[in-house]
Amino acid sequence: MSTEKTSAETLGRKSSDVILKDVTKIFQQPDTGKEFTAVNHINLKINDGEMVTLLGPSGCGKTTTLRMISGFEYPTSGEVLIGDRDVAKVPPNKRGISMVFQSYALFPHMNIWENIAYGLRVQKLPLDEIIKKTNAVIDMMQLTGMGKRFPNQLSGGQQQRVALARAVVIEPSVLLFDEPLSNLDAKLRESMRDELRALQKRLGITSLYVTHDQSEAMAISDRVVIMKDGNIMQVGNPSEIYAFPNSRFVANFIGKANFLDGTFIGMDGTTAQVKIYDQTFDIPSPGKMDGVKEGGACCLAVRPEGILLSAMDGRLQGRVRRATYYGAKIEYEIMLHEQPILVEVYTSQQNKVFSEGENVFLSLVSNSVRVLA
């Protein structure tokens, strides 16, 4: 532990915040010639030392955003500020930032030591300083003794560590991650994810992480940015986003959600009243309810674990169409009128297990229900 601490201290901290101001990127499709807005007037601030994840389906603009911060793409309009400096038109090698690539992009003809020292050699630091810093990072990343190996002689996890070491050794003001874990198998991905987060916290480097894996995004970030079609849909810390999604898209993209269509009757204090299937439900914390009008259509967004099942009582009645046993939980698909509803029941060993075809009653855990347009 003590060596790790000193290693971390060997690296200075030059971190700074990142601000995107009204950034737009328009590409022209090479085949059709049509303009395509990859990123549409987005504003985002990444605080100093914070880890922010860009999350979204492919083509949502998350990679383009990352590449504009890295400098491999220049924005069509808008400002990119790193610290106080507008870098929108500064080439990548002059930005003082660093990046971990999806394919790791280790230099195949250099050994591990030289791979990691590369950025320091570029800066033409005195050799003893290069040695000091490189060795510190090698120790910190538990790569001690592997300096002379070549990238193709390492396992996937080790290659990942080298890529990370190479990125942090130059003490970047911002660290960018382009889906760095997608090449690893599931088990390794989880442990590398935790390792990566621990390192980021310890060094306190401002980080932007791009992924399409929502559980990875939840686990790793201070804040998550959900993107779709070049727009930012929602920004918030993982639990906010999960508990208070502001749209069906976000609710569906982060975790699973059921949407029960109904009519918004009105507010009773802070409690919203919504009518579904001719019954009125009181929703104590309905969320922001953007775009929901009194007397208009709305829906209730309910997480699969926000529904309780019972054989006797509940306000909604349905029939079990499918029950899947997962050990820790049972997942039911229940037909509520014509609509399939997903329900997850944990502590499955204590609850009654329903079988397919059985009739069940559903009740909503009202605190976890949100009202969306």
Binding site: P30, G33, K89, P92, N93, I131, N135, G145, I170
Partner: protein, 581 residues
């Protein structure tokens, strides 16, 4: 680029916008920008300018005014028209025969399990590395007035070996490897399962060949024909030495310029030679290659089942072995001839040919090696630079670099020689008679192979590797030196070897450019032919073979030593890591 068609116009607009954006990106990288500008200037100076000069010179009179007189005179002179006809006819015949032989070799090697395939492969590729004159020499040794076969074996005296038949034999042997290389590439890349499918549907081997294999390899066949045709057109050393009365264009140009010093007529003839060569080159590059059906999927296909049917295997094998025997006979004859006292009379062993040859042209041999090495190294590096700046970017002028940098490859050597004489014998660029002009000719003529292999390598390297270098702070020059160049090792090596071989075996390109001070071995050998000192020429040629082999080995060693990945870490660092283990 002046499309009025709506969709096409917008397409060009898009391409332009993209190009403009990327051009802007590049302008922010000073090293990159300076390199691109320097390359463009060099290409204009040493590729475009000389070629323009040839055209202009052919179309002007003594006073510099525009005139078609030279062109008209050439076109209306039956002698020159006949020369054009002979050149094209020879090219056509040689292309057909060479491609046929190349195809048989390629098919035998890729499709049957005939024995000695490695040997056949060597036979079918070796002549590419062979010095010029070697086959002409041996056909004279074998079938000439003092010929081993004609005179000593068959007792025919005064056989005239010079003429079209000899020319065809010699050119076919020189150029069938070109067709073989193209065709074996194509045949190998045809997915085995396609042929298997035809077989499964009941087609016999013969039917499968004509309905599947042959049509699929047709682009390769045409490509092979065109490439051989170009080679035959360009060839100077063979028609000049054994063509006899069968004069070809390149020889005619040489005779006009050295005989009557008529540079203008020479320029017109050079243009006449350049046009068919250019057309064949462009046809191959832009038409045939697009027609290719071969798709590379990157998916490993199952191993091909080799043909074992004796009725197919043995005839093919015997055909190849006969060609191989002829190739060996020809090369062997020259080596043998270099150790013989007087060919045709006294076959006693002697080293005197070598002594005389060296006494006569030791310095030219040295020049060839020195200039060959210099130009190969420069050309190899320059080729890597061009590959690097063209492989993965778009910007204004990129297309020009791509085209101009490989243009000299398609230009017949004779034309190249004249163009350089015209461009660099007067102010502002007086280079004729120097070693510099020879190096420049070699660099620009032989660079395309380096560019091509460099480009292929770069396209295979993941973009993010270079991005990683950039984001770590390296500018494009540093990235090139530390990242791309080392990974281009193999491409660099093949470029250097090719450039070196081509430089020291070049004849037509340098024949006008050598000077008494800077003479080269090939032009010396050509002089020996004029004096009928064939055994001395044989000694020279044999030495050239040895030199080529030695230098290829040497280059290989140097490249591996200099650029091999070294697993070294600084001394201080090592001690520390050892401790903390």
């Amino acid at each position: 680029m002046t499309d009025s068609d709506g969709s096409k116009a917008s397409k060009t607009n898009v391409a332009r916008t993209k190009k403009r954006n990327e051009t802007r990106m590049i302008m922010r990288q000073p090293v990159m920008m300076i390199t691109i500008l320097a390359v463009i200037i060099l290409l204009i100076l040493f590729v475009v300018y000389p070629l323009v000069k040839v055209f202009l010179f052919g179309l002007t009179d003594e006073n510099g005014g525009f005139s078609l007189a030279n062109l008209v005179e050439i076109v209306t002179t039956p002698k020159y028209l006949a020369t054009c006809g002979r050149t094209l006819w020879l090219g056509f015949i040689v292309a057909i025969i060479s491609t046929f032989i190349g195809y048989v070799f390629a098919y035998t090697i890729t499709r049957t399990n005939a024995p000695c395939k490695k040997f056949l492969r060597i036979i079918a590729t070796m002549p590419i590395l062979s010095p010029p004159f070697i086959l002409s020499l041996s056909i004279i040794f074998l079938f000439g007035k003092q010929g081993l076969i004609t005179k000593s074996l068959l007792g025919i005296t005064g056989n005239d070996v010079y003429g079209m038949t000899s020319l065809i034999i010699v050119q076919v042997m020189s150029f069938f490897p070109v067709a073989y290389l193209t065709l074996s590439g194509i045949l190998q890349s045809i997915d085995a399962s396609v042929e298997d499918a035809a077989c499964n549907m009941g087609a016999n081997r013969w039917h499968t060949f004509w309905t599947v294999t042959f049509p699929l390899s047709l682009p390769g066949i045409i490509s092979g024909c065109l490439l051989v045709f170009i080679q035959s057109l360009e060839d100077f050393s063979n028609p000049a030495t054994i063509g006899g009365d069968y004069t070809t264009l390149s020889v005619e140009v040489y005779q006009i310029i050295t005989g009557s010093y008529d540079m203008r007529k020479g320029s017109v003839l050079a243009v006449l030679l350049l046009l068919p060569a250019m057309i064949a080159y462009l046809l191959n590059k832009y038409w045939v290659n697009k027609k290719s059906f071969v798709t590379v999927t990157g998916k490993p296909t199952q191993a091909r089942k080799m043909i074992d049917d004796p009725g197919i295997k043995w005839p093919l094998f015997i055909f190849c072995m006969i060609i191989a025997a002829v190739v060996i006979l020809f090369y062997g004859t020259v080596i043998f001839g270099s150790f013989v006292t007087t060919w045709g009379y006294n076959y006693a062993f002697t080293l005197s040919q070598y002594q005389r040859a060296l006494a006569y042209g030791m310095d030219s041999l040295k020049n060839s090696i020195v200039l060959g090495v210099i130009s190969a190294v420069i050309g190899g590096m320059f080729g890597m630079v061009i590959a690097y700046i063209t492989a993965k970017r778009t910007y204004y002028g990129k297309r020009f670099i791509e085209v101009a940098s490989v243009l000299m490859f398609a230009v017949p050597g004779t034309v190249l020689g004249i163009s350089y004489v015209l461009a660099f014998n007067s102010k502002p660029f007086v280079l004729t008679g120097t070693a510099v002009i020879l190096v420049i000719v070699f660099v620009f003529r032989n660079m395309p192979v380096a560019i091509e292999s460099g480009t292929t390598t770069l396209l295979q390297i993941d973009n993010s590797i270079e991005e990683a270098s950039t984001i770590l702070g390296a500018d494009s020059g540093y990235s090139f030196r530390r990242i791309s160049l080392p990974m281009l090792k193999n491409a660099f090596f093949s470029g250097i070897v090719y450039s070196f071989v081509k430089a020291i075996t070049a004849v037509s390109a340098i024949i006008f450019l050598v000077s008494p001070k800077w003479n080269l071995v090939t032009s010396k050998i050509y002089t020996l032919f004029d004096q009928a000192k064939y055994s001395q020429a044989a000694a020279f040629v044999t030495m050239m073979v040895a030199i080529l082999l030695i230098f290829i080995g040497l280059f290989n060693m140097v490249i591996n030593k200099v650029l091999a990945p070294k697993s070294r870490i600084p001394a201080g660092a090592e001690r520390k890591t050892e401790e903390s283990v």
